[in-house]
């Protein structure tokens, strides 16, 4: 019976022996034939390479006060890779954690989600494999509670870490200049100087703006590694070897905290004053530079508290930092604000005219108005002032002198080039001079994202027309020959926006129309004017000093070029600008100022901007005869240069030199020429004669 069954039982015996032989053979292959290679793998298994983050370098002012430094804090981080493996994806852990950190669960959940194209701040911009810091400073008690109840908080750690702090010495807060740190983005992790792959920890913040971005590599130092033996749970059981982390270099800047505070206060009160007189001013810039190209103070209004970045930033905070409604406090308006320079531009127009053959000692008519190309241009409502010298024209800031110069130089220029629709059309005579003074291109300062400003060359005009005729502002679609004022302009721009017209040339001569300059460009041009013609690439960084106190690199502003003018011409202009303060447009603003102690020279600018109140500008230097500093204040939407910006500049000089009841920010009005020294212990000593 059951013959079929018995036959099949025999087959089963065969199957059994086949499978047993398979197992035995495979075991022989793995254990005996390849045993040694698996032994090697097994011991590699036991070790892990851990990246040891380097202590980030500090950013110091010129006497060694820390503007950015690190403080050790107990940082709570959440490893979402671990949390996601819990049954509810970590929700209950976060819900337990949130009240301990004094956060709502909602905010904590938002802080730990990953940023994507659609998920915006608050979110985690770093790698999903790295622990996400959710609180940069918890009490020791909270930290202990978290670490002792690991079953309640899987994947949550509380460990001491260096946290960036901003000590704001004397109240100096150049937040936009310093920039901020955020965890490395995926793109940044790909860059060669950042260690790649797993293990790049939450402490590894990368400068995302300002000096932190510019000097990121030096400030970051070299991350070390540590090879530790671990078990599968990731518990470290010992250290096998590794290389120590190398702390980042400290960046000494030429910023002087006390002068920075003076500039901040002056700018703040100027904006406040403009607003009090009913203007909308909501941004502005004040720059103090030495005449050899070093930035001493750089204030951008409005400022903000940089600590907002350290604990993870909320969407609301982020919007406030970059929103135009609040004046975009995160933007450094000194390098990114592009404003019409107004009459401060007349210095380059004068230089252009003299280069074009106009006699420096000639006399030029200053009528109440001039008519160019069928349009009448007034001298700001002033009556006919007759003929005057260039000096007088600068002192009185006569617009009609420069309208005429602009028009005449347009007439004597290559007129055929005006109608050539090409990017290669030659630069006009007047605009060539502006370019030579450093306008229309980045100054090359050691800050990222610098704006270029605008010098309306024929090339620029061509691209401007090309970008807006049928695209961008779409002049040809929106323009109407018989429409509103704006529509008529658009109609004209569509027809001839690429043509350099006499009216445009006239307006450009007084620093309006298409002319745009950043406060830094204007400062830099006046530095060249003040120092006799050397155009620098401005520098904020003064030196990089290694943690053991050695000067790794001394930073001096490189020479970018020389003004195409004679030294005597520049001396003539400087004299004229001294006259502006004593008897010209800024005389009122400087009335009562002790010019006998510190002679200040400057030029006011009041740039008319369509649809807005004028941009208030004052570009100045002091002392008149051997200039040491250039001070520029630019505040859009604020009114006359003489009313808003010139008083702010006066306030800055008061602070630097200790005039009019102020205490001198630096002894004798001199910023230190030597660097602060840093001992290997980390102790910083101010240069001799200065205190920290």
């Amino acid at each position: 019976m059951m013959t079929a069954s018995r036959r099949r039982l025999l087959v089963l015996y065969v199957v059994v022996f086949t499978l047993l032989i398979t197992l035995g053979g495979r075991l022989w292959y793995i254990q005996v034939m390849n045993g040694t290679s698996y032994v090697k793998l097994a011991s590699q298994n036991q070790t892990r390479k851990i990246i040891v983050p380097a202590v980030r370098g500090q950013i110091l002012d010129d006497v060694g006060n820390a503007l950015v430094t690190n403080r050790t804090e107990l940082v709570v981080s959440v490893d979402m890779m671990t949390l996601s493996q819990t049954s509810d994806g970590g929700t209950s852990v976060l819900k337990r954690l949130a009240p301990m950190l004094g956060l709502s669960y909602q905010l904590l959940a938002e802080k730990t989600r990953l940023c994507t194209a659609t998920v915006k701040q608050p979110c985690w911009a770093g790698s999903p494999y790295q622990p996400i810091p959710v609180d940069q400073s918890v009490s020791e008690q909270t930290a202990l509670q978290i670490m002792e109840e690991q079953s309640q908080f899987p994947g949550v750690t509380a460990q001491p870490q260096g946290v960036v702090t901003y000590p704001t010495p004397s109240g100096a807060n150049p937040a936009q200049v310093l920039g901020y740190l955020l965890p490395a983005t995926t793109e940044q992790l790909k860059q060669d100087h950042l260690p790649s792959g797993v293990g790049y920890s939450s402490a590894d913040l990368v400068g995302q703006s300002g000096l932190e971005e510019q000097y990121n590599q030096a400030l970051t130092g070299k991350t070390g590694s540590s090879t530790v033996s671990v078990n599968a749970a990731g518990d470290v059981t010992g250290t096998v070897g590794g290389t120590a982390a190398q702390s980042g270099d400290d960046l000494v800047t030429s910023l002087n905290s006390k002068i920075q505070v003076v500039a901040q206060n002056a700018l703040n009160s100027a904006v406040k004053k403009a607003r009090e007189s009913g203007n909308d001013a909501n941004q502005g810039a004040a720059v103090v530079m030495t005449t050899n190209g070093q930035v001493v103070a750089m204030a951008s209004y409005p400022d903000y508290n940089p600590n907002v970045w350290t604990n993870g930033i909320s969407q609301k905070e982020f919007d406030a930092l970059f929103g135009q409604a609040d004046g975009a406090p995160a933007i450094n308006w000194t390098t990114q604000g592009q404003y019409a320079p107004g009459s401060t531009w007349k210095v380059t127009s004068t230089a252009a005219a003299v280069s074009d053959g106009y006699p420096l000692d000639g006399s030029y008519d200053c009528p109440a108005s001039v008519t160019i190309g069928g349009h009448t241009y007034k001298n700001d409502g002033e009556p006919n002032q007759g003929a005057m010298s260039f000096s007088e024209a600068l002192i009185q800031s006569c617009d009609t002198v420069y309208y005429n110069l602009g028009y005449e130089m347009w007439q004597s220029d290559d007129q055929k080039a005006n109608v050539v629709t090409s990017a290669k059309a030659p630069v006009q005579k007047m605009q060539k001079e502006a370019l030579a003074w450093g306008f229309g291109k980045a100054t090359g300062i050691d800050l990222p994202a610098e704006a270029t400003g605008t010098v309306p060359t024929r090339e620029w005009l061509y691209y401007y027309w090309k970008d807006n005729a049928y695209a961008g502002q779409d002049w040809c679609k929106n323009g109407r020959a018989d429409g509103s004022y704006v529509q008529q302009i658009e109609y004209q721009d569509c027809k001839s926006g690429n043509v350099w017209e006499p009216g445009q040339a006239a307006i450009a001569a007084i620093g309006q129309g298409y002319d745009l300059a950043t406060p830094l460009q204007l400062t830099n041009a006046y530095v060249a004017l003040a120092n006799g013609g050397t155009l620098y690439q401005p520098r904020i960084g003064a030196a990089l000093i290694s943690p053991d106190g050695k000067v790794v690199q001394k930073i001096t502003p490189p020479v970018a070029g020389h003004l195409p003018t004679s030294a005597s011409f520049l001396a003539y202009v400087r004299n004229a600008l001294a006259g502006v303060v004593t008897q010209g447009t800024a005389a009122g603003a400087f009335s009562g100022f002790p010019l006998n102690k510190v002679c200040v020279a400057g030029k006011t600018g009041t740039a008319q901007v369509m649809g807005k109140v004028a941009t208030s500008v004052f570009a100045s230097f002091a002392p008149c005869q051997d200039p040491k500093y250039v001070v520029v204040v630019m505040i859009p939407d604020a009114g006359y240069g003489a009313d808003v910006s010139a008083p702010a500049a006066r306030q800055i000089y008061d602070g630097i030199y200790g005039l009019e009841g102020q205490k001198a920010a630096v002894p004798g009005g001199q910023v230190p020429s030597a660097l602060p020294s840093i001992a290997s212990t980390g102790k910083i000593t101010a240069p001799k004669g200065y205190s920290g």
Partner: protein
């Protein structure tokens, strides 16, 4: 052909058995006292020795596998050793009791065993059930013990299937005189097996449900079903597997396990991790192993579930090729003895039960060891007799008890 009645009622006219007719079976020299122990003498001692050896190795390996983790936690390092030892002792007692029971009584109880197993499997789906590693396969008992009904489902399935085949055929043998089960018989068997399998799939315990399917299929094959139906069933099974995949009846992590089995390096830190770590652990054992309690990967707990599903990695690393082959060999002895018992069984029920158990041990051992050496996908199956776990050990030893019972009966009436 079998039946106590026919043998024990000699007819006067026949003259009865000659004196000493049973003497050879008593091995002549045994006294009456010793003949009372004949039940012990007729045990399959080779099977018992192999099972005892496997259980002993298992207890040692469980101890070695759990010692470092418990030591790290500062707990009693013998916690699992003690528990596993108790499980084995209790299991051996059950085995011993079953071995002397006439297996045909079991045939009567098969529906009850089946019903209890069904209820148990249903209970784990209720709030009584506990979830371990994502599968709701356990019922919590007071005193910290847990029952895993799916382990007993194997026994229930084997008994029920064997009972059905023998009953259905027995009924027909008398009326029609046909041999071999009909397609209808197979249908009834499958219909009775499906609820068990289905409930185990729902838990989900993919490994055990695979064992159930293979055991059921094997028993159907061995029942004497016609070859063309075998082919038809294979086609149906293939269509079923394809359908399950395309209808996404298989859960995501199960697919991941299967695909990571094919390409383990693609997912070295995820599902492929287990497989790679298991291979590393076993491979690094070499010829003679790193010594009990001295396995590198074991002390670092690199291999997951190393006291349960992956216990063979501990054997591989600490006992080496020699130890691993001894375990494989002992398991082989158990399976071969089970097949021998099936071959010599004197009724269809006994033959099918023994065959089912042989297939169970064979398949489960092969899949479990195979997954640790990278020739089978990773599924949650314990290694018979060796992996830590009360329910599994009990089920294994109960099955051995059934084998001994079938063997014993056969021996007595040979």
């Amino acid at each position: 052909m079998s039946g106590l009645g026919r043998v024990s009622v000699p007819q006067r006219s026949y003259g009865g058995p000659r004196p000493g007719a049973f003497k050879t079976r008593q091995r002549s020299v045994l006294t009456r006292f010793k003949s009372k122990e004949s039940k012990l003498r007729h045990m399959d001692w080779l099977l018992i020795a192999a099972v005892l050896a496997l259980c002993a190795i298992g207890v040692l390996l469980v101890w070695s596998a759990t010692d470092p983790t418990l030591a790290q936690r500062g707990a009693n390092t013998r916690t699992y050793l003690d528990k596993q030892a108790i499980f084995v002792v209790l299991g051996l007692i059950m085995m011993g009791l079953l071995s002397v029971v006439d297996h045909r009584h079991l045939r009567t109880y098969a529906p009850i065993v089946y019903g209890v197993a069904l209820l148990g499997l249903l209970a784990v789906l209720t709030p009584l059930g506990a979830t371990v590693n994502g599968a709701a396969g356990w019922i919590d008992l007071p005193g910290g013990f847990q029952i895993e009904p799916s382990e007993y489902a194997k026994i229930a399935l084997i008994l029920m299937t064997a009972m059905l085949f023998s009953e259905l055929r027995g009924a027909r043998d008398q009326s029609q005189g046909r041999s071999g089960p009909t397609l209808r018989d197979v249908g009834i068997v499958i219909a009775c097996g499906l609820p068990l399998i289905g409930l185990v799939v729902i838990e989900p315990a993919l490994g055990i449900s695979m064992v159930l399917v293979v055991v059921l299929a094997g028993m159907i094959l061995l029942s004497g079903i016609k070859m063309r139906w075998v082919v038809t069933l294979l086609v149906v099974a293939a269509v079923g597997v394809f359908g399950a995949l395309s209808l996404h009846l298989v859960k995501g992590y199960q697919l991941t396990r299967f695909s990571s089995f094919l390409h383990p390096s693609n997912d070295a830190a995820g599902a492929g991790y287990n497989g790679i770590q298991a291979k590393i652990a076993i491979g690094s054992g070499g010829m003679f192993g790193q010594g009990l309690f001295h396995g590198q990967s074991v002390s670092g707990s690199y291999v997951p579930a190393q006291s349960t599903d992956f216990i063979f990695t501990v054997a591989g690393q600490e006992l080496g090729f020699v130890g691993a082959v001894v375990i494989v060999g002992l398991l082989g002895v158990v399976v071969v003895r089970a097949l021998r018992i099936a071959t010599r069984a004197d009724d269809l029920f006994g033959m099918l039960v023994a065959t089912g158990i042989a297939i169970w041990f064979l398949f489960q051992s092969f899949v479990n060891i195979g997954m640790t050496i990278g020739i089978m996908p990773i599924t949650g199956l314990p290694l018979p007799f060796i992996s830590y776990g009360g329910s599994a050990i009990f089920a294994d030893l109960i099955a051995v008890g059934l084998l001994l019972s079938i063997h014993h009966k056969h021996q007595v009436f040979e």
